[in-house]
Structure formats: C-alpha cells, structure tokens
C-alpha cells in the first residue's frame, strides 16, 4: 500500500478504463463520465508523486484541487453542449453526431 507503483498501476487502470469508456460508450453523457475518470487518474498520479517523490507536497495537492475545479467547469460546458445537441437532435447518442465526414 505504501508503494508508488501500486498507485501508479491503479491510476493507469482508471485511465485505461476511462479511455475504454470514451472509445466505446455511445451515450455522450457516458463518455463525459469516462472523461472524469481520466482526470481522476491523473489526479491520483499527482497525489502519489506528491506523497512519494516530490520535494514540496503542496504542489500536487494544489494541482489536484485546480483540476477538480476545471473538471467541474468542463462538466458544465460538456453537459450544456450535450443538452443543446439533445434539443436539436433529440438524442444524446453518438450516432447523432456523425454526419460530417470526408
């Protein structure tokens, strides 16, 4: 539990799961949820490095805090775009957004 690599592996797992979600969820909100996983994985990394390696433990924490804030803003923007799409397309599935190509 006190080893860096445990945390790193967990964060890698979370990150990969997030990627998987982004890649195969068709529900846009589902994708957004997966994005949150990505950010959290990175946060976990920061915290872990902070704990085990960094000279100044404040940095990682502050970064994590700011990323949370950003994530909130991002979620707000993302959800609003999804809602707008829903109002236009009556769907929040990814299929609603694949007409532009070539």
């Amino acid at each position: 539990m006190n080893s860096l690599s445990t945390y790193l592996i967990i964060s890698a797992l979370l990150f990969s799961l997030g990627l998987l979600g982004i890649l195969q969820r068709r529900n846009l909100i589902g994708m957004l949820i997966s994005v949150e996983l990505l950010l959290n994985a990175a946060n976990l990394n920061f915290m872990a490095y902070n704990r085990f390696l960094a000279p100044d433990p404040v940095v990682g924490q502050v970064i994590t805090l700011f990323v949370m804030g950003l994530a909130a803003a991002e979620a707000a923007i993302g959800l609003s775009i999804i809602l707008a799409l829903y109002r236009k397309m009556h769907s929040i599935n990814i299929e609603a957004a694949q007409k532009m190509k070539g």
Partner: protein, 473 residues
Amino acid sequence: MTDFMLFLPELFFILGALLFFIFSLRKTPNPAGYHRWAVVLAAAGLLVTVASSHQEGMLFFNCYRVDLFSQVFKVLMALGTIWVIFSSGELKGIDTRQHAEYYFLIFVCTLAMMMLVSSVELLTIYVSIELSSYSLYLLVPMRRGEERYFECGIKYFMIGVTASGLMLFGISLLFGVGHTTYVPQLIKVLPTVISQPAAIVGLVLALAGFFFKLAVFPFHIWAPDVYQGACNQVTTYIATVSKMAAAAMIIRFAGISGGASPAMIKLLIVLSIASMTFGNLVALIQKDIKRLLAYSSIAHAGYILIGILTLNSQGYAAAMYYAAAYLIMNYSVFMVIMKVADDGHNLQIKELAGLHKRSPLLAMTLMLGLFGLAGIPPTAGFTGKFLVFAAALGKGYLYLVIIGMVNATISLYYYLIVFKAAYLLKPVKEYPPVRVDFWTQFMSFALVIMSIYLGVFPDRFLSLTEAAARSLF
C-alpha cells in the same frame, strides 16, 4: 509598477472581456455598437501589446515569464484578434443576442493564449490552455441556423477533453520524474533523466494537448468538422490565433528534452510527415472551402513541426517565421471567405466563381493568400517554407525536406483549384455582388503588402524571431 506594466497586454484583454461581460448583461443587444467597441478595444490591445513587446521580466513567483519570445507571439495573437474582430462586422453566423458573449469569449480566449505563451509553470500552462479551450468549445456551437453542423461542437469538446486528459496525465508523469512544475527547472532536469521512459512519455503526452491545438496528426481529427461547422469568424479565429499559441507552446515544450532523445525527434519527424501527407492528400477532394483549409492547416502544422524538430534556435526562428507568415496568409484567405459569404453560410469552392469580376481586389488578396499557403514566392509563405527547410537541412534531414516539397507540390493542386474557381470559372448562377468597404480595401492592401514584404525582405523579421528563439534558452 513594473510588474503591472509587464502584465499590461493581458490586463487590457481582461478589461475588454469584462466590458463585454457587462454588455452581455444588458437587455437589448446592440451588435453594431459592440463591434465598434470591440474593434477599438482590440486595436488598443494591439497597440499595448506592441508597446510592451520589448519588455522582459518574471511575474507571479516565477510562474510567468515575459520575454521576447512570448511578446512576439502576443503581438501576433493580438494582430490576429483584431483581424478577426474586424471581420466580425456582419456576424450573421451568430444570433445577435449572443454577440456580446461572442466578443467576451474571444477576448477571454486571447487572454488565455497570451497567458499560455508566457507561462512557464505546468499548472499555469494547463489552466491557461483549458481556459482557451473552454472558450473555443463554447464559441464553436454558437453558430446559428446551420443545424447540420451542430455536431462539430460535441466532437470538438470530446476530442479536446480527451486530449487534455492525455496532456494532464503526461504533465503528471513529468512532475513525477522531474519533481517540479517549473519549466526552466524541467529544462535543466529532464535531459539528465531523459533515458527514463516516464520522462519521454510524459513529454510526448504533454505535447498531445498542444498537438491537438495545432491539429497535428493524429490529434487533427477535430479540425475539418470544426472548421466547417463553426461560424466563419470563429473558424478564422481558430485557424489563425489559436495556432499561434499552439506553435509557441510546442516550441517551448519540444525544447525541454534538449535534443537528448533521438527517439523523440524521430517521433516528431513521423508526425510531421504524417500531418503533411494526410492533410494534403485529403484536402485534394474537398468541396467546402473551409473544410479544405482545415486539411491545409493540418498540413501546415506538419511544416511548422519541421522547423521545431530541429530543436535549435535556427529552427525555432524559422518555425516562428512560418507561423507568422501562416497567420497572414491564412487570414487573407479567410477574410475573403468571410466577405464573399457575408451572410455567414459555408462557402463552397464553386461559389467563388467569377470573383475576379465581382471584386478584383478580394480576388487578388485570395490569390496572394493561396500562393502563400502553397509556398509560391515571393510571398511570406514561401520564405517561411524555405527557412524551415533550411533549418531542417542544417540538421541533415534531406529526405524530410524532399517529402515536404513533394507535399507542397501536391498541395498546389487544391490551392490551384480554389484559384481557378476565383479566376477562371464562370458562375453558374448570378451571385450577389460583393460589398467591399474602405476598411476591407485597406486591409486587403495591407495584407498583400505584408505578405510580399515579409517574403521579399525577411531579414528584419527573421532577426527578430532569431532573437526571440534565443531568449527561450
């Protein structure tokens, strides 16, 4: 007081943003008035930026560095912003009720990018880039009337957040391996640990965010849809100003490794070749001019990368030169597009037919812009390419230069198709005449002269960019 002066351009743009925030609270919109205000503010912003262009100093506990490198890019971005705002007089693509927000977001985005090029701390960089991205995420779906293009907003968002996730993860690795978030310290530390996988992977992943901004393969995938789907002015903004910031940041980040990792250079070479080739090849078959320019921007990202991947100041100077040239010529083309499609619809190439009769001046501006993009002398685009290739050959990348030139030849084909439409084709139906006011004429001449001046007399600007590139280290 000096600190304040160093931060003056940013403060000015914050001021602009606040003003439009206040405007956005008003009940009755006044688009013409907003535009006037915006032009005045952006012009003043440009002046302020130019005035402070030779300042140097550190701010905010060394998180923020004002040097020639950042100031040159700030001037370029301020220039791009005033151009975009100048062209926003007939903002038909966006609901009149949202004009104030539009200007607000433009100002915020420019501010964010200015901060981005000055930031030398990873978190500051990340937050700045997110701020600019969020503004753009919001600007893109603002488009009114074209339902079929709405999906580009969600695409842009999804790809953007994924890229930023990768970037954040990369930054975390950099933090882990370098124990610091300050870029100057990282530059010192990283070359010593570059053999560690975490360092190089962190760097590459961190670059992903900027690659996304610059639309480098494989992070280019948003570009065509967004260029096509966003309203003309926003597309212009994305195509000009945001590229400057991205180029600046790639220059700053690529240098972190200090050229100690050949694998990294190889990766950059591969990405550059892939970008050029992909962008140019797919652009060949486009009908929508904005989509075409999106692919062309992917290709140009590849050219800029050629300059960057030399990892020496000559290459950076060349890349900066190229970026500036790209700003001018890309805006030339977009200005014509915005003028011709003044109702805000998406211009098809064939709609340019007979432009040389409808407006000779715009046709000439378009021609010069296209020549610049294609790299035909004596435009700035050519000189930029030349410098970039020279830098690459200075490092001995002969094959890369040959591939680049072959690509330039391929690209010529689609630029010629646009040119052909403007100069050769007879319009199939009667298009309304293009209204060209005085300021547009002025701008056309200014762009043409700038493009040719930069192309023929590159010395002064080149020495400026060289000085800027040296200030990086």
